[in-house]
Symmetry: C2
Subunit: 189 residues, 2 copies
DNA sequence: GACCTATCCTAGGTACCTTAGGTTAAAACC
DNA sequence: GGTTTTAACCTAAGGTACCTAGGATAGGTC
């Protein structure tokens, strides 16, 4: 019986792909083991258990997501930065539904702190706001508003929450423009 | 062995309470059966299975939610209606996290159509917009924007997505005011 | 009091997570 | 090249949960 040569990273990466294919909530050790032609108990050599695997996927997703969002904001400002950030956000959520769902999985605080991903995402958010010149605590309120709208739209879209006969792209564009307007007029609200 | 007198409605109602207590995703037939002092197999007399039970909770949650949101909008318009709707939305989401999570559970189309809840919620949304006088398709875009922001904020709040040291109530107030501003200025965006 | 219905039961199958301990492939060492 | 060590992958088994099949019986009807 030759060895497959599993590693923790290979498992987590494959698990992320599985999650994108069948949904993060349907990710199971059994299906992952089957993908590698291995018994599910064998996975415990590389991973503490299902929740550990899920945390790994969550951290990986955060890192990949941070990369995408950071790229979108880099070299842009104002409306262009906001639009690029928003589109990258939604593209990640719809293009990688399993990974996106994983980003909502609770991660142990010490691991979260060790990871760069979350910090880079928050950093990208604040960088994006720099062009709108908001003082604290308005900047935090604005970041929360942006995240809420982006996450809410993406989540509702992913779970089939929108049923009206109207282009989702068009509604999205409108929402982003509305946020831009809000940010520019922030002090007058 | 005396009979407990279970009914489908009693099961679903209790399941909704269980979901609020331990989370909709942790709702299980075993814990529900234990709550009634009954074997889990006995529940199948009243419910087709776990997914049927979950659908029942989802429909119940939609109905209760529609009631709350309808009450909030009734007799109000403009900013007052928006604020009341928003606060009722968030209060339901944070006060009944299990029921709120259930509203995101996929429901069979024919059951969804038979239920009044969803229709009443959408109706409340459009009623709320009446004061802002938006033509289609802007009204649909606006409804989607409102739902996205409310859902995103509530979901992120419920799952611990906001970590900054800033009052959530204050950020929420700001978000709602921003939406009001957006709706009043809609044609100029 | 006998009968019927439907409630609740036991028994058992499947799937998944997890632990314990054994084999052996593959690397490390002499 | 042969021996030792490491750890990858295994089998076995226990726990929990969903679900089906079929039996016992409470509670109502006649």
């Amino acid at each position: 019986m030759p060895r497959v040569g599993l590693t923790r990273d290979a498992l987590i990466s494959a698990a992320a792909d599985v999650a994108d294919e069948i949904g993060f909530e349907h990710l199971t050790l059994a299906v992952l083991a089957k993908r590698f032609g291995v018994r599910d108990a064998s996975l415990y050599t590389h991973v503490r258990g299902l929740s550990d695997l899920m945390e790994g996927v969550a951290l990986l997703a955060h890192d990949e997501w941070a990369e995408v969002l950071g790229q979108a904001v880099a070299g842009r400002s104002g409306h262009a930065a906001l639009t690029a950030f928003a589109d990258a956000y939604r593209a990640f959520a719809t293009g990688h539904p399993g990974r996106y769902a994983a980003t909502r999985y609770p991660i142990a605080p010490e691991r979260l702190a060790a990871s760069q991903g979350v910090a880079r995402i928050i950093e990208a958010c604040y960088a994006l706001l720099r062009g709108y010149d908001l003082p604290e605590p308005d900047a935090t309120d604005a970041v929360r508003l942006l995240r809420s709208t982006f996450h809410g739209f993406s989540d509702l879209e992913a779970t089939g929450g929108f049923t009206a006969d109207r282009s989702l792209d068009a509604s999205w564009r409108r929402a982003v423009d509305a946020l831009h307007h809000t940010l520019t007029e922030w002090s007058r609200i």
